[in-house]
Structures are given as C-alpha cells and as structure tokens.
C-alpha cells in the first residue's frame, strides 16, 4: 500500500447560489521515499490538491467526496487533534514565498524551537541543538550564529533554506513543496533543488513537488501527475512523460517550451486558455483547445485509463499518439 493515497477527491467551493468544483475525481499515490511532481498551469487545482491532503482548504471550500489515506488512516475521519499530529509533523509543507512563511518579528531560532515544542515534549536546549543541526544540514554557514537572526537579515535563498530546515525538524514522512523555487533566481533555484533532492534521498522522505515548471520536475521527480481544470489528465514515470507524453495537453505543454523548439522560429502553442471553474466545458475539459477533438470528446468526459506505464484521460490517446509521432504536428 502506498504511503499516501488520494482517491476520487472532489473539492467544492459553495459561493452564494453557485458551487464551484475545484477538484474533480482526483486520484494519485505517493510511495514511501518517492518524489512526485504535480504539474499544471495556474488554476489547474494543484495547490488545492495539496491543501486538501492536510485539510487546509479555506472555508467555505470543502472535500465533498473521495478520501485521503495516509499511512492507513483516512484523514477525513480523524479528529482535529490527530490532524495536528500529522500536519507539520509527519507531513510538512514548504511554500513559495519564504518571506510570507516566516514570521518577520521572531528570530528564526525562536520559530524553529516553537515548531519542535508544538510537536514534541522537549527541553529548550535539546530543541536548540536539533534546530542548529537542521540549519547545518541545509548548508547554512555559521548555523549557530544564524539561529539568532531575523528573517530580513537573510537573503531569499537563505530564507528558503531555513523554511526547508523547519520542514525537516520533525523528521516527516512527506514534504509537500508548493512552488518552492518560483520566487528565486535561477542560480539559487539550482542550489535549492539540489539540496532538496539530496535531503529526500538521504532521509528517505517522500516529496510532493507542486510546480508549473516542467523542466524542474523533470530533474527532481520520479513520477509526474499532470493536472488540468481540476482533473488529473495524465500520470506516469517522469522520463516517459517528458520524452513521450500521451495526452495532447501534456504534449502541447512540453512542446511549447522554448528549449523544445528550434531557435528563432515560432513556438508550438496551445490555442486558447484553460477554462475557469465557472465555465468548465462539457465532455473532455481540454476539447476546445485540442486539435483532435471530435463528437465523443465534446459529449463524454474521458476516464483516466492505464496505457503502458502511465495513465491518460483521453478518448483517443492511442490513435493520437500514432499520428503525433508520425507527423510531429503537435497541437
């Protein structure tokens, strides 16, 4: 059994007379020590999926169907106190902007000790020792001195290292990282990604990396889940998805990247934009932007079905892939 199982998850946001459905039958697994990438454009539902695992969806949003099973426990059925024990302890989270995550009026040491004491019965001295160990582990130079610093005294990259150190404090089983390097410069991003990769390998921590950046997931993760309009449209092993994605959307997304195109020529593009939650099309949610859409796609929503090593939600996956490989005229 997987460490984390998300099954047929529906998340709804009742807003006045309308109800918006942010997630629609989302399912995926995360194994112990596995690195999983959740990829999608803004509004695809990748952050909602992560938040719903930790029961952090902002009211009035709620999980209306499906379940999240962590280490054998159905997280929907446990008490708040039991959730407290899991959230920030067994499952940690790293957010995009370290300046928003860290409290600006407390030293990073205070914040680290506070976090440890919330989850463990531990003396101040022991908490301090563990915190400094973790700061050293994320390669913060002169960790003991940095312990007394305030967040504003650190650079952006250092702050994100502190956030990672805090996530590691309680030796979690899973780290959920929501766009952890999006706010950073490319050289700092490379350092932080390398650090996260090493830490996950060394500690056997499972990583759920949420990002819009396909190049980043291709270098860090072992498996990819692609989301579109609140649904999982494709999932599979990272190398297979990057080299030979089966869903026209995934394929289009990869082909749209400048590094996948010959310099100076027009880029491959997917026409249109992702629908908002208020105007989800009938049938396959991607059909208005898909070059291969036919009557079936306009009427019936495709199920996620197993094809080779992965799963694809496309009526014509086998047929399209043949055409794309032959013609190379991706959507």
């Amino acid at each position: 059994m997987a460490l984390l199982e998300v099954r047929d998850l529906d998340v709804i946001f009742p807003l006045g007379r309308k109800t918006l459905q942010a997630l629609h039958g989302v399912s995926f697994d995360l194994d112990k020590g596995e690195r999983l990438g959740i990829v999608g454009e803004s509004g695809a539902g990748k952050s909602v999926a992560a938040f719903s695992i930790l029961n952090l969806i902002a009211k009035p949003g709620r999980i209306s169907a499906g379940r999240v099973v962590f280490d054998g426990d159905d997280l929907a059925k446990i008490t708040d106190a039991e959730m407290q024990h899991i959230r920030g302890n067994r499952i940690s989270m790293i957010f995009q902007d370290p300046m928003m995550t860290l409290n600006p009026v407390l030293t990073i040491g205070t914040q680290m000790v506070e976090c440890l004491k919330a989850h463990r019965t531990i003396s101040d001295a022991d908490a301090r020792r563990i915190a400094i160990d973790k700061l050293e582990e994320v390669k913060i130079p002169s960790a003991a001195a940095r312990f007394a610093n305030y967040p504003h005294q650190l650079s952006g990259g250092m702050r994100q290292r502190v956030v990672i150190a805090i996530a590691l404090l309680t030796d979690p089983a899973i780290i959920i990282a929501d766009e952890p390097t999006t706010a950073l410069d490319v050289t700092i991003q490379a350092e932080i990604l390398a650090l996260m990769l090493d830490l996950c390998r060394d500690h056997g921590v499972a990583l759920m990396l949420i990002t819009h950046d396909l190049a980043v997931v291709s270098q860090v993760t072992q498996r990819i889940v692609v989301m579109y309009a609140g649904r999982v449209v494709e999932q599979g092993p990272t190398p297979a998805i990057i080299a030979d994605a089966r869903h026209p959307y995934t394929r289009g997304l990869i082909r749209a990247l400048p590094q996948q195109n010959r310099p100076g020529v027009r880029l491959h593009q997917i026409r249109g934009t992702m629908p908002t939650l208020e105007e989800i099309p009938v049938g396959c949610t991607f059909h208005p932007r898909c070059d291969f859409a036919d009557a079936t796609c306009r009427q019936r929503e495709p199920d996620l079905r197993v094809i080779d090593a992965g799963k694809v939600a496309c009526h014509h996956a086998e047929h399209i892939i043949g055409k794309l490989r032959a013609g190379g005229t991706d959507g």
């Binding site: 410069d185 490319v186 490379a190 819009h212 100076g264 593009q269 934009t273």
Partner: protein, 329 residues
C-alpha cells in the same frame, strides 16, 4: 527572420546610474548610494532582438528604464539613430518617445483598470498623433488588436475581463499603436503560464516581422533568450560581463558567471540536476565588491580579480569582462 542590418539604432555609451537611498555620517552628509549600473556600453543594431539577462538586482531593468528616458543617467549617454537623447528637453524628446515603446512585466499593473481596452489603445494615438480622426483611430485599434490575436470587438471591455495572456497582448497592442521602431520588453512573459508564454512570444515574433521592429528584451529566463534573441548581454551587479551573439554564447559561454548561469537552467534532456558551479548569492549594489564584481562567487578568482576591475574586451568572437577569459574555454 529579419536579418540585422549593420546600422546602430540604439547606442548606450558608458552608462552609469546611481540612486541615493539615504544618508550616513554625523551630519547626514555622506549619501548612501546604490550603484545600479556601472559603465555599461551596448550598441543595438537595427532589426536585432537584443536580450539582456541577469539575476534580480543586476540592473537590467534600470538599464531599460534609462534607455527609455524613465530615469536620467548619472553619467554616460544614450543615442537613438545617431541623436543623443538622454539630455533632451521633454518637448524635444517627444518624437523619440513615439518611436520607442515599452512592454512591462505585469499586465495586471500596467493597464489602467478604469479604462476600456479601446480607451487604453487610443490614448497613445491621441497623444502622439492628434491629427487622426475618431474613425481612423478606431480602424487602427481594430487592425492592431487583430494583429496580436485579440478579438477587436473586445474594445468596450475592461482589463479585468481578460486572462493574463490576453492582457499582455493588449499591452503589446498598446505599444504597437503608434508604429514604433524600437520596443523595450521588460520580462514580458514572466508572469504568464507556460502555454500562454508561447502564445505571447509568438505574437512578439510576428510583430517583429510585420512591423520591422528592433527589440531590447529583458529577462532572467535563459531558455527564452536562446529562442528569441539575436545577441545577448549578460549582466551582473550593474556590469556587463559577456556580450555575444546568441549561438556563440549558448554554444561556448566563456565568462565564469555565464557558465554558472547556463549550468543552472533546468534542462529536460533526461539529465539529473547538473553540478552546481556557482555558490553564494549576489552581493547588494550598495556595497560593491572591489575589483571584479563577480570575484566573490567565481571559481577562478585570484588575487588580481579582487584588485583590478576587468575591462570588456574582445576574446574568441565575443566581448567579455574577465582577466582570465583565455583560460575559461
């Protein structure tokens, strides 16, 4: 693709830009300065798509704003088509403002939320071409909206009714309304989603052909540079460290900073994370290192680098500011 003619369109000569951000000393008589740009010289040829890359705080946006006349240079000169423009009075500068237009990063902030799209697009025309009648102005709106791939019937709508990609196309349309020759684009696709980035980049490349544009494209995203640029300047802490045509730079970067920057691009060729060549972070421009600004992070730095500022010089078909450029191949 438009082949660059060898005529210089924009010449930036020994540009310096310093901002005072406060003062020190007993009597507040010692100004605290940020040296945003330190002696940058770039010549942009007609028809080029010149890209300027660097990390945040390297001065690339300040350079763009200074070229556009949104900031006055502290010293140095900016020439447009042979005329020095940085010291012109506002009224004399006006004709140049029509020829030079700018596209900003955030289409949510750069479009006035209380104006309709049609008002937004007509405003530059009313200002720069007051001789045009209402009908001519409207025709131009329709033509330009169509050319950037937006529906011309959207003129009565407000910016909030559009997605990010559509909004960025509106700001490109606004820049194109007055038929500019030179367009400065400051991170025009950074705020957009991947599938939308490709659309907007395509619109900009189409506009380049259709309107015979010259671009100064500011970005931190090197994979976009490789695709879009004809020549690239790499900036670090207000200094130009390497300048070459795109193919040369990506095939064989020679400045240690460029090498580190290229190695840091996440690649999709199935490789795992490449070895990180560069450590540490960019120092602030308030406290510039002595000598070569990059020496603190440079794997090759020696004693001379701490002492002596390297001049930009010609090595292996590119301009490079490194004392040991011969050894970096």
């Amino acid at each position: 693709m438009v082949e660059p003619a060898d005529r210089p369109l924009v010449e930036i000569d020994q540009l310096h830009k310093t901002f005072q951000v406060g003062s020190d000393g007993w009597f507040g008589n010692r100004p605290r300065l940020v040296r945003a740009i330190n002696g940058v010289s770039i010549t942009i040829l007609k028809g080029e798509s010149f890209c300027l890359v660097g990390e945040s705080g390297c001065g690339k946006s300040t350079l763009a704003r200074t070229v556009m006349g949104l900031e006055k240079p502290s010293s140095g000169a900016v020439c447009y088509d042979g005329t020095r423009i940085d010291d012109l009075a506002d009224s004399r500068r006006l004709p140049f403002r029509r020829k030079m237009q700018m596209i900003f990063q955030n289409p949510y902030a750069s479009l006035n939320p209380r104006m309709t799209v049609r008002q937004i697009l007509e405003e530059p025309l009313r200002f720069h071409r007051p001789e045009l009648g209402a009908a001519e102005r409207y025709d131009k709106v329709v033509a330009v909206m169509t050319s950037v791939g937006n529906n011309p019937d959207w003129g009565a709508r407000f910016p909030h009714e559009f997605s990010g990609g559509q909004r960025q196309r509106i700001s490109i349309a606004r820049a194109l309304m007055v038929d500019p020759e030179f367009v400065v684009a400051d991170e025009p696709i950074s705020a957009l989603d991947v599938s939308i980035q490709a659309q907007v980049l395509n619109v900009m490349m189409d506009a380049r052909e259709r309107h015979d544009l010259t671009y100064l494209f500011i970005t931190h995203d090197l994979s976009v540079v490789e695709h879009f640029g004809t020549r690239v300047g790499v900036m670090y802490l207000g200094t130009l460290c390497e300048l070459a045509d795109t193919r040369t730079l990506f095939a064989s970067p020679r400045h240690p900073y460029t090498q580190g920057l290229l190695a840091a691009i996440p690649r999709m060729d199935g490789s795992q994370l490449s070895h990180v060549k560069m450590t540490g972070e960019v120092p602030t421009a308030m406290d510039l290192p002595s000598g070569c600004v990059f020496h603190g992070r440079c794997p090759l730095a020696r004693e001379r680098c701490q002492r002596e500022i390297p001049e930009l010089r010609e090595v292996a078909g590119r301009q490079i500011a490194c004392h040991y450029a011969e050894e970096t191949a």
